[in-house]
């Protein structure tokens, strides 16, 4: 009898310790700080409609800066974003936003073709363009990312923007571990805006 009590006691103590540790770990992972607040901007989506800050409200948005003729990291960024687009197809509370850093060559027609080539069939993934100086200002001034020598020198980060148009975290689009973290964060935050 004595050993049963001791065994159960040890198991319960370890269970409580484990619970505390796990709750703390989960809590810490869910604590994604607000890194910045986006202010007004206007872009044009491939459909021809304007895309503004208001379109970020109420949804989580994964943002990247690309250009369609890019032969460097963009194909990998596009493939990764396409994977995310497919994996999160079960929810309309997550959208993807690609902003062209080469408005001269990336016409709306080019953006539509690019979207089709990536298998995009709906408006959960938006492809936008705007004047180069506005894009540079948006990237540097609002997203706080380098935008020198565009289009070639564009950032390869993915940016997570929450349902209040706040920047929550940056991810290295070419790093699988970072993309796993992005998926975890999307799942954590999307449950909060149900």
């Amino acid at each position: 009898m004595k050993w049963i009590i001791i065994s159960v006691g040890i198991a319960i103590s370890l269970g409580i310790l484990a619970m505390l540790v796990l709750v703390q770990a989960e809590h810490s992972k869910a604590d994604i700080p607000v890194l910045g607040q986006l202010s007004d901007f206007t872009l044009t989506e491939r459909s021809g409609e304007s895309f503004t800050r208001d379109n970020l409200i109420g949804k989580l948005t994964v943002v990247d800066f690309i250009f369609t003729s890019c032969q460097g990291p963009c194909p990998i960024m596009g493939t990764t974003m396409a994977e995310l687009y497919q994996q999160f197809e079960g929810t309309s509370r997550i959208q993807f936003l690609s902003i062209s850093v080469d408005p001269e060559r990336d016409s709306l027609e080019t953006l539509r073709e690019y979207a089709t080539s990536l298998g995009v069939t709906d408006n959960r993934w938006l492809f936008t363009r705007g004047p180069l100086d506005s894009i540079t200002q948006l990237c540097e001034g609002q997203f706080m990312l380098a935008a020198e020598n565009l289009p070639g020198g564009h950032t390869t980060k993915f940016i997570l923007v929450d349902d209040q148009a706040q920047i929550r975290r940056y991810y290295t689009s070419l790093d699988e571990k970072s993309i796993r973290a992005l998926k975890r964060d999307l799942k954590l935050l999307v449950d909060k805006i149900k």
Binding site: A25, K29, Q87
Partner: protein, 311 residues
């Protein structure tokens, strides 16, 4: 000899606690809480705030809770390492004429040193599944060696103790149970890895759907689990019924195994119907390690009973 037995026993208990903490580190996602090794964010004591981070480290990598969970694992590892090293030294001092005591004790010490180094590989490999599995299996071998040393030094200390009469196949039964349990642990780590891949591919599914998508490997693990449970109950009953003069330790070990396999089946069912929760995962691995330990206790006792001719 008494001191050796006590140290070996404490080392065994401490190693079991460390296996539990190790499992906790794994499921809490704190395995990379410290991205470097042996230091944590370049410091011997982990940072407690962002401004203590070295300038070359990306602040988004820093999570204070995860860093301290991983650091606690390392601290406990050092304490257990010192305990096992002391056990090995004591074995060389007091049992150098008994190779079956000093050799496993020294081997446990060497494996512990290796395990410490291998811990650095776990971190540098960014939790490569094979490396994590090796880390787990080495821990189970260390704890098995310590149990053997504890028991052998007890028998050395009490050489006149009368051994119970056990069924002749007990040694064989326990060898099979120990081996099957090790195989199950290895398979379990692979199932967990496959589960992580599924979570990565289908982030929006419910946890029970994730388990369902793991596939064939999971079915193999479940089937062997049921076989192990039935086998453990069968041999447990056979030993209890077929023994004479069974000691309390042996009786408790046998009942312990039978209870433990029952717990494993219940935990397995919760994985299927509720999904893999971190807490149940920790206990699933830990209870498996207890089954491995208890089957070795019975193995060693039955071997002794065989040698002293009391079967």
């Amino acid at each position: 000899m008494r001191r050796l037995r006590q140290f070996a026993f404490f080392s065994t208990i401490a190693t079991y606690i460390l296996i539990f903490i190790g499992g906790l580190v794994r499921v809490s996602g704190a395995g990379l809480g410290c991205p470097d090794w042996p230091t944590c964010f370049g410091r011997w004591i982990p940072p407690t705030s962002l401004d203590q981070l070295p300038s070359d480290i990306d602040p988004s990598q820093f999570n204070i809770a995860l860093a301290w969970i991983e650091y606690s694992n390392r601290l406990c590892g050092i304490i257990v390492g010192l305990l096992i090293a002391t056990t090995a030294v004591l074995a060389l001092m007091y049992a150098r004429h008994r190779i079956k005591i000093w050799f496993p004790a020294v081997l446990a010490g060497l494996l512990t040193a290796f395990q410490g180094w291998q811990g650095s590989v776990v971190v540098s490999s960014v939790l490569e599944p094979v490396v994590v599995t090796v880390h787990t299996v080495i821990a189970l071998i260390i704890v098995s060696l310590l149990i053997w040393v504890t028991q052998q030094s007890y028998y050395e200390e009490h050489s006149a103790i009368e051994m119970p009469k056990l069924p002749s196949a007990t040694v064989k039964w326990m060898t099979i149970l120990w081996s099957l349990s090790i195989v199950q642990v290895i398979l379990g780590t692979q199932v967990r890895q496959a589960y992580e891949v599924v979570v990565h591919q289908f982030p929006m599914l419910h946890p029970t759907q994730w388990v369902g998508k793991v596939g064939g490997l999971n079915h193999v693990h479940m089937t062997i689990g049921i076989v192990v449970a039935v086998y453990a109950w069968y041999v447990g009953q056979a030993i209890l019924k077929g023994s004479k003069g069974i000691t309390p330790l042996l009786r408790q070990s046998i009942i312990g195994i039978m209870v433990a396999v029952g717990i494993q089946i219940i935990l397995g069912l919760t994985f299927i119907f509720v999904g893999l929760s971190p807490l149940t995962q920790v206990f699933h691995l830990w209870v498996a390690s207890i089954i491995i330990g208890l089957s070795l206790v019975i193995f060693t006792a039955s071997k002794r009973a065989y040698q002293t001719g009391s079967r």
